[in-house]
Amino acid sequence: MRESDFAQRGSSATGGGLQTFDLRFVTRSKMRDILFITLRNALLNIITLTFYRFWGRTRVRRYLWSRTYLLEEPLEYTGRSMELVLGFLLTVLLLGVPLVGASIAVQFLAAESNALIALYGIGFYVGIFLLYGIAKYRAQRYRLSRTIWRGIRFGLKGSWITYGLRTLVLYYLTGATLFWTYPILRLRLTKQMFENTTFGDRQFRFEGHASALYPAFFFAWFFSVFGLVAVFGGLVMMISDLAATGNLPFAFGGDNGEESPSPLSTWLFLLVTSIAVYALVGLILSLTTAWYRAAEYRYFARCTTLDGMRFHFKASGLAVFWLTAVNIIIVLFTFGFGIPFAQLRRFRFLFRRVGAEGSIDLDSIGQGDAPYPMFGEGLAEFFEIGAV
């Protein structure tokens, strides 16, 4: 589909009243453009000690949004780089400085009180999940508030504090149950996020139950545990084998007067091993969880409605695996500089596969009253939530 056949697609886009649609997003972003933007941003980030990232991110979003069409109208990203800069500086000032102050104070007084260190530790591990949830919610709110389609803003209502607390509780629960409550975590958090999303004066709905995800999760859990045991078992065997034959480039428990290995080879060995393990674990998990995640995408879409429109998502386990596996490889082989590129692949994946069917009266949708934050994403910056 080209922009030139913009004029009309059926009669669906004009006229009033309830209409039936089979909506699909069309993404016309080009990998070549994305590659160019990624490289350009990487270069400017290096020059400016990564401070360019606010401009880079805005640029990427503007591009991606503008090349994503619905009913032949593109999305529009209206966020400004300066909003991100100010959001970031405010977070540093209001949160970063007091937190650093507290941690320095604890270090000063640490020697005298173990209780204080314990308290600080607890505060840290509670705070980190709470803030992670808050950061995610507020970042999403900012992004949606800056997204416009047909002159109407998206938005995110609801309380970020509730979302933060929910994140905290559910993450700890998931850890305590050896991940067996993970589908509940995913469903509850997604539900709050989707239910509070608005397009103009219309609110999305989300009806679902975590039990629908358990059949897929059951397999994912066992395969993942099996895969991890295999990787780490193999690693232990390999190292003990090398140690037994004396081929380790560095010796455990101090050198015994033999010619000592150079720091370079030790460093290289550790680097290569850790990257290899990271890649292997990543690839195995992306394979063992792919079918679960595909099921999640499909189910969450199916649970979501906007007026008479019900969403759907076309994704197979294999497609999800391919997306993640290639992304891991991209990130590894570009030493992290490919992260934005990997995120762009994910963005395209999501928008190419999501759609909605049903009826809606577009003409009756008015501008909404969802919060319109002045600054963006300060906190998300610290958790590296979505560079896109």
């Binding site: 922009e3 401070f51 109208e73 529009e76 209206t78 650093v100 389609w149 003409d363 008015g366």
Partner: protein, 387 residues
């Protein structure tokens, strides 16, 4: 002349098929029935989307946040380009590009000046504002955590060193009381902590030939203490770390680590030079041979150079430290102490050299020579404060 277009009024998602009338000052938007929907001042019009070949021109009015106008007619697009040439620019508009370049230039200069001017300059007054009691507390806490890895050696030699410290410190009006520790460590080094704590490692003592060389090192460390460098250095390192974390958003950081190291090194050179100057003055006033310190430094420089040659990764370090130790040695060698007396007796020096040896025998550690020790220090990424 009127052209067909599409209009979204920003109040509803309804799509209006409209006619636009473009003059050289305003754009009027009419419904097909002829009713006027909106009027946009030409000056306030901006493009919302990049131009795609044969695609429409998408516009907004800066006075209205959400209303959008989509121009599909080729002649109308040409008319807009004529009146507002910046709309034609394919990639970035010149205005935005200039704006971005300017902002980046300002930010970069702010970053650089914070790094090289503000942080080191701020460290001094902040250090001065911190009460000495707090500084002592910080020093003790640091010492406690250090002694977990580096056992403190006890013995009669300590008394001899303490006597030497008193002799050196008596040349100054300073009220700071120096606490001296000799620690068992493979790292050849000496350094000062906040609160007047001075640490010398046994490996460094083994590297010395006599009490005069020890006096040189102590004079330098006392110089650091009297100038209150340890606290200042800690503060500026903290400042750099915080600042880099702030700029990068706590982002991952080998680049940041390198930046921090570069800054720490450039600050520390200044500190070392000043501590040397103070140390020379202390030695001369205490009538101890100042050239002994120079000899120690130049031997240290030779070892460093040898190590650097063997190690590819040491190139950067060679550039940094080697000429530096030698340079400092030369300054010391150019000075002279009149009426000098030995820093300590032969007997005392023997006691000092024997420090930590007993502890080592118990742990069964074999002697491995200075080279081996410095090598290990490098592998462990040891402190390179160079006494």
């Amino acid at each position: 002349m009127q052209f067909p277009a599409i209009y979204f009024d920003g109040r509803s998602a309804r799509r209006h098929d409209v006619l636009v009338d473009i003059t050289d000052r305003i754009v009027r938007i009419f419904e097909l029935s002829g009713a006027r929907l909106d009027t946009w001042p030409l000056k306030k019009i901006e493009r919302t989307h990049p131009i795609i070949r044969s695609g429409p021109l998408r516009l907004r009015n800066r006075r209205n946040q959400t209303a959008r106008l989509v121009i599909v007619d080729g002649a109308a697009i040409e008319r807009f380009f004529e009146l507002l040439p910046h709309l034609r620019e394919v990639f970035y508009t010149t205005r935005r590009l200039t704006h971005t370049a300017l902002t980046l230039a300002i930010i970069t200069s702010l970053v650089v000046s914070t790094f090289y001017i503000a942080i080191p300059r701020l460290a001094k007054p902040i250090a001065e504002a911190i009460p000495y009691e707090l500084e002592e507390r910080l020093g003790r806490a640091t010492m406690r955590s250090l002694s977990a890895n580096w056992p403190v050696c006890e013995g009669e030699g300590i008394l001899a060193i303490e006597q030497l410290v008193r002799r050196l410190q008596s040349t100054r009006m300073s009220e700071v009381e120096i606490s001296i520790f000799v620690v068992d460590s493979a790292v050849s080094n000496a350094f000062a902590l906040p609160g007047g704590i001075v640490i010398v490692t046994d490996s460094l003592i083994k590297f010395m030939k006599d009490g005069d060389e020890l006096a040189g090192v102590l004079g330098h460390e006392i110089g650091h203490v009297n100038l209150r460098h340890p606290l200042e250095a800690m503060l500026s390192q903290l400042g750099v770390k915080l600042f880099l974390n702030m700029v990068s958003g706590g982002g991952s950081g080998d680049l940041m680590e390198i930046g921090g190291m570069v800054a720490a090194t450039s600050y520390s050179r200044d500190y070392e030079r000043k501590a040397d100057e103070e140390g020379f003055a202390i030695l001369i006033d205490a009538q101890i041979d100042v050239k002994a310190y120079g000899r120690l430094l130049s031997r240290f420089g030779e070892v460093e150079a040898k190590l650097a040659e063997q190690d590819i990764l040491g190139i950067a370090e060679l550039l940094r430290t080697h000429p530096y130790s030698m340079e400092r040695a030369e300054i010391a060698m150019a000075l002279d102490t009149l009426d000098r007396t030995p820093a300590m007796s032969e007997a005392d020096w023997t006691l000092v050299s024997a420090l930590c040896v007993k502890q080592k025998d118990q742990s069964g550690d074999s002697s491995e020579g200075v080279n081996g020790r410095i090598d290990r220090e490098r592998q462990s990424g040891g402190n390179d404060s160079q006494f």
